[in-house]
């Protein structure tokens, strides 16, 4: 029999878009979202460097991997701000996505 991982799964609720998805234990918040083709949190570098997946956790337990201070200061971190790609849930999570892509329609000059 093929062994499959029977991980605990947590419910992730993105407050500002109303979306909900399941995230596996031990994986950062974007892994499950992207794997399921879901949206709601902008998905960028997945390394804590670019900052587009900035979130504010409203409720729930999580641990964090190293992230760039360019995008989340220590003070913000203490207020619940984080980057989704550096946040590993340890319970169900309710959050709002803070980082946003600039909408293409607002780009008047090619890239900006």
């Amino acid at each position: 029999m093929v062994e499959t991982k029977k991980n605990v799964r947590y419910i992730i609720n993105i407050e500002n878009t109303g979306e909900t998805y399941e995230s596996a234990d031990g994986e950062h918040l974007l892994v499950g979202m992207v794997k399921l083709g879901r949206k709601g949190i902008p998905s960028g570098c997945h390394g804590g460097g670019c900052g587009v997946c900035k979130i504010k956790v409203k409720n729930g337990k999580y641990r964090k991997l190293t992230l760039s201070r360019e995008h989340v200061s220590k003070e913000e971190e203490s207020q619940g701000f984080s980057l989704a790609c550096r946040t590993i849930p340890e319970s169900d999570i309710r959050l709002s996505a803070v980082g946003q892509f600039k909408k293409v329609v607002t780009k008047s000059y090619g890239f900006v």
Binding site: C45, C50, T66
Partner: protein
């Protein structure tokens, strides 16, 4: 006389061990030096100078500086004068200021990016040597990239405020450092605003590139592979190693290169770039991409914007 090629890039990483696993095991660079501050220096197998990549552990990702190698030591005196005459501040730093490197000129491009010119760096040699060499060495890990090929820097662009650091960089590199413009993207109602530029000194389509964005930043550094099959294999290696791929193998319209974009563990974007593209020469006419076809230029097959491509950078 003149700038020969990209010499090295110094980038910031959030976790040195994770970065080394990526650049050594996935891309196949080898460690050649570590300085007293713990910065690690690496080279690719087909390069002969001591290093082309510097990893600096930091609490922020991004680029510290980029350096280009000039042909003769005396070129530095000429460029120092020309850069000053152009109106850009330039400082000469002594040998050793950059590890294992001779005296250098230190300046900031008009976009703000820290930039060096140097003439000498400690010699190590290619992994295959120079006497009756094999075409490739044994034992190189991962994608076995040949050399650091180019970098793309994001430059502030806000035409309504009259800010265009892409244009300023292009003019500076043309006038003061004799770079040539290979390709450009022109935007705006009259198509007269340069929003991106690919510039060369070697015979490949670009040794440095600039794309306009909201703030100064580091978009990617690219490592060379021979051809399309190497690109496919590199993508396999990335998938095996669970590297976050940004853009799967495909062709650029601009430069005609075969590409993969992906991220290092700190979110700095890398590229493996394959193919000659075309022979770039000083008298080659400049290639222009218009705003309505600019995404065809970047991703030739789909011709579509990938939203994360220009908005995600460190």
């Amino acid at each position: 006389m003149g700038v020969m090629r990209i010499g090295h890039i110094s980038i910031r990483v959030l976790d040195m061990d994770a970065a080394l696993k990526h650049y050594e095991n996935v891309l196949g660079l080898t460690r050649t030096h570590e300085d007293s501050e713990g910065n690690v220096y690496l080279k690719c197998w087909d390069e002969w100078d001591k290093y082309s990549l510097v990893l600096n552990e930091s609490e922020k990702a991004g680029m510290n500086h980029i350096a280009y190698k000039v042909e003769n030591d005396s070129d530095l005196d000429v460029f120092k004068q020309r850069i000053a005459d152009y109106g850009v501040d330039v400082e000469e730093v002594a040998g050793g200021y950059l590890e294992c490197t001779g005296r250098a000129l230190k300046l900031n491009l008009p976009s703000g990016h820290e930039f060096y010119l140097y003439a000498e760096k400690e010699f190590v040699g290619k992994a295959v040597g120079v006497t009756n060499p094999d075409p490739w060495p044994d034992g190189v890990k991962g994608a076995a990239v040949h050399w650091l090929d180019h970098a793309l820097l994001i430059c502030e662009l806000d035409p309504e405020k009259g800010i265009n650091k892409v244009a300023e960089n292009v003019k500076f590199l043309q006038d003061a450092l004799d770079f040539y413009l290979g390709e450009q993207v022109m935007v705006g109602p009259d198509g007269d605003i340069i929003a991106a530029a690919w510039m060369f000194r070697s015979s490949t389509p670009h040794d440095i590139a600039f794309v306009g964005g909201e703030r100064m930043g580091f978009h990617h550094c690219a490592f060379f592979l021979d051809e399309w099959n190497d690109v496919l294999k590199a993508a396999d290696i990335m998938a095996k190693n669970r590297v976050k791929i940004d853009v799967t193998p495909q062709r650029h319209g601009i430069t005609r290169g075969y590409t993969i974009y992906f991220f290092d563990p700190s979110g700095n974007r890398n590229e493996t770039f394959a193919g000659l593209g075309y022979l770039a020469q000083p008298d080659m006419p400049v290639i222009t991409w218009t705003e309505d076809e600019l995404w065809r230029g970047i991703f030739y097959h789909t011709g579509e914007e990938a939203g994360q491509f220009t908005d995600v950078y460190t």
